[in-house]
Symmetry: C2
Subunit: 203 residues, 2 copies
């Protein structure tokens, strides 16, 4: 494979053509079915050039749709440390991105496009499942790993919506540390706790 296919490497027009082709493929075919090869064909470049510019399909997706985190990097950071504080680390990593102006803007834009557009939602649903939830489930080594991952998703998406989109006070204005203290244990229980019993609830 030759990375030189008539366009100069580094040409910003080529990069933009690749991202445009990627957005269309991901939107029309979903994350799982879209391939780097097809995207390269659509953009009129060699697949090696797409890899050269954007690395993995995950990274191409993150760049093309403005996903507010690189999941594989996030998961590597989160996985490194005590299992009993997995929920806290996951939440801190997400908040680090979301509490920046750019990260928050991307998050809000993404939620809006997913909720208002079925193709965007399906694309995002597949990406969340393949690139995040399945990976989390595979490393957990607990029963009901998929259910646990989807419960984490429900609280994470709900937190993002309540804090940044709906801006429900006082959650919208609470310091990040307070959010971690309040919501971290929820994620921890979903990840490694007991899901089918009432722990500590009186009657």
């Amino acid at each position: 494979m030759s990375p030189r296919t008539g366009r100069r490497i580094g040409d910003s027009g080529t990069r933009e053509a690749i991202l445009r082709a990627a957005r269309q493929r991901f939107a029309h075919q979903g994350y799982d079915a879209a391939s780097i090869r097809q995207i390269a064909d659509d953009a009129g470049v060699d697949p090696a050039l797409v890899h050269h510019f954007y690395g993995t399909k995950e990274n191409l997706f993150v760049t093309a749709v403005g996903f507010p985190a690189l999941p594989s990097e996030l998961l590597a950071q989160v996985g490194d440390g005590a299992r009993g504080r997995l929920g806290e680390r996951l939440l801190r990593s997400l908040l680090e991105v979301w509490e920046t102006r750019e990260g928050r803007a991307r998050l809000v834009a993404l939620v809006r496009s997913a909720v208002s557009n079925d193709a965007a939602m399906e694309m995002l649903r597949q990406f969340l499942t393949s690139a995040i939830l399945d990976q989390v489930a595979a490393t957990l080594e607990v029963p009901d790993a998929e259910l646990r991952a989807s419960l984490v998703a429900s609280q994470v998406v709900g937190l993002a919506l309540a804090r940044y989109v709906f801006r429900i006070r006082p959650l919208a204005t609470a310091p990040a540390d307070d959010v971690v203290a309040a919501v971290g244990p929820t994620l921890q229980r979903y990840l490694t706790g007991k899901l089918d019993v009432w722990s500590g609830a009186g009657s």
Copy 2:
């Protein structure tokens, strides 16, 4: 005040005119500022007729925008019982509405309009705060009642989104009882538990 103002009581055109005026007032002014009197004026009827048809402002709002529950009724049901299972009862009451075809359709439509339209979002945010979260906070008699109510909102909104809008599996297809067992304790902790300590998480 006379309920007879040139239109026949029970006239479905009058009811529709009231609902249309209500939708516009709520969308433009928000839930808190909109009044039954203004809505009646806009619809060209006496305020008493609006009360006769729709009772409270809360009920008029619920009918006009298709809110998938009457909060005051829901909260009365939920409040009646053991405090240690408040989270479970709240979740069961919500799922009873959402697991019906009509309740789910209304919920999805409402989330979509709120996320894609700023006026609809502000209207819903005010209604959630005034008609639900402030009421919950007032009855809790615990510190940080407002933060607790907004944390409950984050998990409830996230569950609705993950289960019915994004349809993230297996949460989207799990039996309602499993959802209550998994998510009920989260709501219980947000409502009455400790929010600022790590309960039972090893290091």
